[in-house]
């Protein structure tokens, strides 16, 4: 990957304690976790260039991932149009992931790829802005 700024002021981008199972009709069918923006200030959601979730290296289908913030749950494709939704750096968002049957018993690596544009840091001609990497990886153990 080309150069991207990283400014991890807080040790946890994915909040470990927030990880939990997601239930659909009383059955485990996915999970969710909270994410704090890894930068000194907040961003409009339209600054998000990439949001993907990987389970043990395998990409989750994009339609199964949503971004929830301040009582709104958005599919990923809508983030780039959200020029009025401002994500404060001290208010974590919640990522919901639908996965049929949930995670299998054992250890898993959950990776969040999250890339933004720093919208005031123009680095070239035209619409070129400093990329910001706010991604993180979480090790999860499922007991049953």
């Amino acid at each position: 990957m080309a150069f991207a700024m990283r400014m991890q002021l807080n040790e946890e981008i994915i909040k470990k304690d927030s990880f939990k199972d997601m239930y659909i009709n009383n059955k485990r069918n996915g999970f969710s976790f909270d994410v704090q923006l890894g930068y000194y200030r907040g961003h409009y959601l339209s600054d998000i260039d990439l949001l993907e979730v990987y389970i043990d290296g395998e990409k989750v289908d994009q339609e199964a991932v949503t971004f929830a913030y301040r009582n709104k749950e958005l599919p990923v494709y809508k983030l780039k149009y959200a020029i009025t939704e401002f994500w404060s750096q001290v208010e974590p968002a919640t990522i919901h992931v639908i996965k049929k049957g949930g995670l299998a018993k054992g250890n898993h690596k959950i990776e969040l790829k999250l890339m933004l544009r720093v919208p005031y840091m123009n680095i070239g001609p035209g619409h070129m802005y400093m990329p910001l990497d706010s991604g993180d990886v979480l090790d999860v153990r499922v007991e049953e």
Binding site: G42, D47, I83, Y120
Partner: protein, 328 residues
Amino acid sequence: MNTNMKIGATLFCYGTEYARYEYDFEECVKQAALAGATGYEIVGTQMLPSYPNVSDEFLGLVTRLKETYGIGPVSYGANNDRGMRHDRDLSDDEMLADTIIDLKTANALGCKVMRAQYMLSPSAFERLAPYAELYDVHVGIEIHNPETPTSPKMMEYLAVIEKTGSKYLGFIPDFGCFSIAPNKPQWMKALQAGVKEEHLQMAADMRYAGVDIEEARAKLTEANAHPAINGVLQGMYGFVQFKSKEQLPALLEGMKRIMPYCFEMHCKFHYLDENCVEASIPYPEIIAAIKETSFDGYLICEYEDELYCGGTEFTKRQIKQLETLLSE
């Protein structure tokens, strides 16, 4: 000798503590007051819960904190997010409209000064003047390293300021643009990462000598420098670049030239030792130069936490340094 300047701090100084939930907004204000600030700057995108607007609830908090700690907002740090759309830059019309929202927020907070960034074009800045006058908010374009008070981009804004004759358009110099030595935290981090001091010195010498960045990179590779030198080198040619000490008098003269249009100063600092001396920015010379002018606004201390160690102690040292220099 001019002694009418006031010392403040931007709450951005406590950005690390704030991001770690060690300080909430109230604690940031309290720490700024304890450090000796007589007013503070608030960066909207960082600390306003309902950015870009400000809620009555937040204004109530600001009022209560002023009663408790004796200090309130004197400056609003606006961001000009020209790249906020995924597909294109915002137009001048759109940038202007967003900046008017910033004026409303600054005005509601009681700030008479607002920091704007050069993403707001000179022509949009010109059109802002009548609105700034209505809201009684003085808007200063931040002169941030690598820009200087006399760099071509800033001269375009100067032309607009002089053309409009508006008392509400001006500048906010950030003293990082007067750096005359390498950024100490970046130097320290490179040493920790395994870069040899001789290679760092070699990079600094090449920067002073005006060697092109690609040539410098090639020479460092040839000398078997640790790859971690690349980040430092990028800084030396980017946002924390430095000039030679011989260039300082001309830079300070440039600042004096635009001083009638300066609403506020951003006293950037990255590292102060126990004697309260900044490692790369020559404060004694800078403050001496300002004292020769009639500037009577705020010196706003601004810590950029490259060490991720928090700004509480360094902000105290910076305010102490400024108090000492102002009293000399």
